[in-house]
Symmetry: C2
Subunit: 449 residues, 2 copies
């Protein structure tokens, strides 16, 4: 039953746009879900997409616009007049409308807001633009269903009908006192079962989770997930109810965060997708490769310092990729677990205990792997002392790599820096350098070249 | 306003448990949210946690049990009798209850189900256990609000009040025909605004997104995200409405999937957390390190094959960590973008176009990095031919690494294997080996040693 965008359907659309057959297009598209319209817009050229946006009803296109990638939406908005943009905003919830306005150039923002007919919406947008990007204030919508403690159930249902006009989905009904301060919530179930004349004050639940306009998105997501909330009310500094955040925004946020962390760990510094341009992809990838290059050149210098080993123990140089790989892999493992633990807020206990644990873990892994190296050496008839040297230095490298991988993110986090930057290329590069130095240093001590 | 678990509070609890002061504990804990109770249970020993589970009301503890990590819950359930477990299940939604039963040993499952008083719930659990783990059938709950097309609005409200008793939150009201087949949905808004005598058939929305019991979880998550749904109905093979899936389950699923992919990319094969035991962490990490070790030993062999270069161009051996790092980094970048693209279903277009794009990207990155290598060689007075050799082979390695990183996941995906296994250690290890071989092979061609 799901809509599946086929190349055939897409070329039909493109064909109809090229001959400007508006009626046929409306007929084909008007019944589709906005998310499907968005999928089609993503595949079209910007001019064709803009044509469709102007052609179809705003209630459909405004929602579709919100589903688009930022860069696709930007291209389309650049092709619309302030009046046309205002027409789209008119159909949006205040949080979406404010997001769109925030993306516009400063000089157009005012023009667009002036063109919005609905004065309440325009005021809401201006209000929402005041808040910092990563806070509940910027994420919330102003539309919500709000009732006063002093009302009766019947009055409440009447008022709810009126308010519900503006609210896409009713999640919860929030209860406020005379001053508009949030005092509780009302379940639909209770409302359905209470008598008509009952006062809200008697049936409402005086306990309600909330966040303030300054709460960071990450914290909002954590609370909503922990308590399985589908919407959470937002209050201002004085406790006055000013908006609500719904779970669909949080789902998007969680997904974006996860993708960003994943990309950061893979050495991709900007939000890119497989279908972005070669230039965008280069910009996101090249800086990390340059970092890796400098790391590699650093290793060259370290090995030059141990050049004399080339005469007596050239075989050591065959093992450097192995040492570097071990240092890198262990570092990435340790940092990934810590970064995830920090994000989920379950890195507890003292730093000393963690140190003991990481060293213990590294010892177990290192000894197991060292044994394999010695067995390998034995099997290929390698000098025993060389095998032991490699095993011992690999064990040391694994311990150091685990400690770097664990404590660099923790230190960054304590200093308020996103620990995710310490995953991926950053940790592999620094561990490569440390690892190779340690390897040759220990080899020199044992083998004495 | 958020609950914050302090060590002080925790030791108070532990103290009270040790003296078995049930009244004081109930007083302290009864008012907390189940998610906070779960947080406390996670920190306690299994015996203490079990004591609390038995002490507190089942409506609180049953929800708290569902918030626990699988391994913590397993330890507690092992300490409860079948009757006690049945008591907890009694308070759960059918989907949660079925999940718990599925975790029990086979011989206890039947005993527990037999002890459940609510026969409808017991039947629902047995029914839900039939479905494959990763499908909508296993994820859905049987509780939902269902009305018939033929009812009036007034009858509908009456029936809803009755059904709502069993449903924690009313998301949507689903409409079915005589045979119980899903035919549409009803919005609360329409119900609030329609006249009492109106027939449901006149006001319901005959268009509704749904999935079948056999739809995979990943697809359910994709649909719910794409269409911003908070709940989706599930139908059986005949189109009969049998359950619904709510967004909170999907949020958990999305998060788990993201964490699993992230860990897989970091070379961690089981779902572990920073606070797991050293043994669990070793089991999750060691296999990938062994893979890396074999890769490293492979490189040793490759270099042995090019041993004669030691006499004339020993400097080449200083560059192997750099080549390996480049091959690894490029491979991880390419595979991360493709794996993410495949998950989000936005890897489109022909394989040939993708090949051209990846080669183009690798050429740009490779040339930029090669230039830096040549500049470096010039600065340190390295033989020009050696610098050019390194630059050219690095460029080739980058191209090959990008192709492996891109096409291995695509091929795996086409064969129905999770492409995420081709990220992380797997791709770095194979790229290390290919890279080092290619490097020496090209060096041999150019320098002729």
């Amino acid at each position: 039953m799901q809509f599946q965008l086929t190349t055939d359907f897409l070329s039909t659309i493109e064909q109809l746009i090229s001959v400007k057959d508006g009626n046929k297009l409306r007929e084909l598209l008007q019944e589709l879900h906005f998310a499907d319209i968005a999928e089609i817009l993503e595949e079209l050229g910007s001019d064709d997409a803009t044509y469709l946006i102007k052609l179809l009803e705003s209630d459909l296109t405004s929602e579709a616009l919100m589903e688009l990638d930022d860069d696709v939406r930007e291209k389309i908005l650049n092709r619309l007049s302030p009046l046309e943009i205002a027409g789209e905003l008119q159909e949006m919830d205040s949080d979406d409308a404010a997001d769109v306005v925030a993306e516009l150039d400063d000089d157009i923002q005012k023009e667009v807001i002036d063109q919005i007919e609905d004065e309440e919406l325009a005021a809401d947008i201006v209000d929402l633009l005041r808040y910092d990007e990563d806070t509940a204030g910027a994420l919330m919508a102003k539309e919500l269903v709000q009732v006063k403690e002093t009302w009766t159930v019947a009055g409440c249902v009447r008022e709810m009908r009126r308010q519900a006009e503006n609210v896409t989905r009713v999640h919860s009904i929030y209860v406020t006192n005379k001053e508009g301060k949030l005092t509780g919530r009302l379940s639909l179930k209770d409302l359905l079962t209470a008598g008509e004349k009952t006062k809200i004050a008697e049936v409402f639940i005086p306990k309600v989770d909330y966040v303030t306009v300054h709460t960071e998105n990450e914290e909002v997501a954590r609370i909503m997930q922990k308590y399985d909330l589908e919407a959470i009310p937002v209050v201002d500094e004085d406790g006055v109810l000013v908006g609500r955040i719904t779970i669909d925004d949080i789902v998007d946020f969680i997904k974006e965060e996860a993708e960003r962390d994943y990309q950061m760990a893979a050495g991709i510094s900007e939000d890119v997708e497989a279908d972005d341009s070669v230039w965008q992809l280069t910009r996101a990838r090249l800086p990390w490769l340059v970092l890796g290059l400098f790391g590699g050149l650093g290793s060259v210098y370290i090995m030059k310092g141990f050049e004399e080993a080339l005469n007596s123990f050239p075989v050591l140089f065959f093992f450097t990729p192995l040492i570097a790989a071990m240092a890198g892999n262990v570092g990435v493992q340790s940092s990934a677990i810590i970064v995830q633990g920090l994000a989920n807020d379950n890195v507890k206990g003292s730093l000393f205990n963690r140190l003991v644990k990481e060293v213990g873990l590294a010892l177990i892994n290192g000894c197991a792997l060292g044994l394999l190296v010695i067995l390998f050496g034995y099997a290929v008839g390698q000098d025993d002392l060389v095998s032991i040297t490699i095993a011992v230095s690999m064990l040391s490298v694994i311990i150091v790599a685990a400690l770097i991988g664990t404590f660099v993110p923790i230190i960054l986090d304590k200093r308020g820096i996103d620990p995710a930057i310490a995953t991926g290329p950053f940790i592999t590069t620094s561990n490569d350098i440390f690892g190779i130095f340690l390897f040759f240093y220990i080899a020199k001590l044992i083998l004495g070249f």
